[in-house]
């Protein structure tokens, strides 16, 4: 406690703690935990994702072998990869459920519009994570899913073909594609996620969350 007091006199952390965890919230139900659940899985994805980069190599000649090495040779590698793999699906499911709750309760209305905007951005980032991460194991499913996925971009009017080439880093799926998907997956999207998430959480604390609408509203 003495250490906590000493730090509080210098950092004022207790006020921050109280603002985050001891804030007043309306009487809500279990559906209001979906955002926290998404945050929990996001932290899981960050921790396991960082761990996976310790062994994963994003080159066509080694990506698959390094993933097999993680899964079969490294202690608890199956667990770390499994958590990341299933966590990825959970991220998408929980984000969408969280969004549905917000829509159904009208929680996106004044004064929470910006919370909603950042939430929409976060959902797009999560989908980007899913799309880029799917290629990284570099197995048949990954290869052909990304072949199809990038091909879909090519039906965009006018710029479609250029868009596909930019996604692939060339006309075909190649080492360039794998490297840029990896770079986007572990650098670009995490930065975007962190930035949006901080604004999102700041607004949840600053503006507060909405109460479930009653019959008279």
């Amino acid at each position: 406690m003495r250490v906590a007091d000493w730090l509080d006199e210098r950092l004022g952390w207790r006020r921050v703690w109280e603002a985050i965890f001891l804030r007043k919230v309306p009487k809500v139900n279990w559906l209001y935990t979906l955002g926290s659940a998404t945050l929990f899985v996001a932290v899981n994805q960050m921790v396991t994702g960082i761990l996976l980069t310790i062994y994963y190599v994003p080159t066509p000649d080694q990506a698959y072998a390094s993933v097999q090495y993680i899964t079969t040779q490294v202690p608890a590698g199956w667990l770390i990869r499994g958590l990341h793999h299933w966590g990825a699906s959970a991220m998408v499911v929980l984000s969408v459920l969280h969004m549905l709750r917000v829509i159904l309760h009208g929680s996106f209305k004044f004064p929470r519009e910006v919370t909603w905007f950042t939430g929409v951005g976060l959902l797009l980032v999560v989908i980007g994570f899913g799309f880029t991460g799917y290629l990284l194991p570099w197995d048949q499913k990954a290869f052909w899913a990304t072949t199809v996925g990038t091909r879909i971009a090519s039906v965009t009017p006018l710029i479609g073909d250029s868009l596909m080439r930019i996604l692939r880093g060339g006309a075909e799926l190649s080492a360039v594609t794998l490297a840029r998907f990896f770079g986007v997956h572990i650098w670009v999207l995490p930065v975007g996620l962190t930035a949006l998430l901080l604004v999102h959480l700041y607004l949840v604390i600053r503006v507060g969350i909405s109460a479930p609408p009653g019959p008279e509203e």
Partner: protein
């Protein structure tokens, strides 16, 4: 009679949250440590007899360099590596095979025929022809391999 502190709903939940959080952190943290240090704890692959070459190439009383190609598995890659071994014999019966890896910090030593010594260029380590330290920082003699001679071929035990 001792007065028992009543457990409030609030303190119970707070404790439960910390306990569950701690369990989850340990559940991920302990495997994470095993995951990180695992490959370092792996013991070397079993040693095998590696053929170096013909005994007729070994000069009497002079360390002779042999090179052998070996396959080594590191992580998910199988590498072909070259092993350099100095073989010394005084009587063409007993052979000594020495590693060319300096016992100081792992640079490669070279046999200098003029001076009759092994020399390590990194920190001036010097070994005599039997691999004993003459001068410089090396803490122990050059490492030796177990040797075997069969049909005029020298083999060393390594991996």
């Amino acid at each position: 009679m001792s007065e028992e502190k009543p457990i409030t709903r609030r303190s119970f939940l707070a404790t439960a949250v910390w306990a569950i959080g701690g369990l989850i952190s340990a559940g991920l943290g302990i495997p994470a440590i095993a995951y990180l240090i695992g490959p370092a704890l792996r013991s070397r692959a079993a040693e095998t007899w590696i053929a170096l070459g013909s005994t007729s190439k070994v000069e009497l009383g002079t360390p002779t360099l042999f090179r052998a190609r070996i396959q080594r598995q590191t992580g998910w890659i199988v590498n072909e590596e070259e092993l350099s071994v100095y073989v010394l014999t005084q009587d063409a019966r007993d052979y000594t095979a020495m590693s060319n890896i300096c016992t100081h910090l792992g640079c490669r030593v070279r046999w200098i025929a003029d001076r009759g010594e092994f020399y390590c260029p990194c920190h001036n380590g010097v070994f005599d022809k039997a691999g004993q330290v003459v001068s410089g920082p090396p803490p122990r003699p050059l490492d030796r391999y177990e040797t075997r001679v069969e049909n005029g071929q020298i083999y060393i035990l390594g991996g």
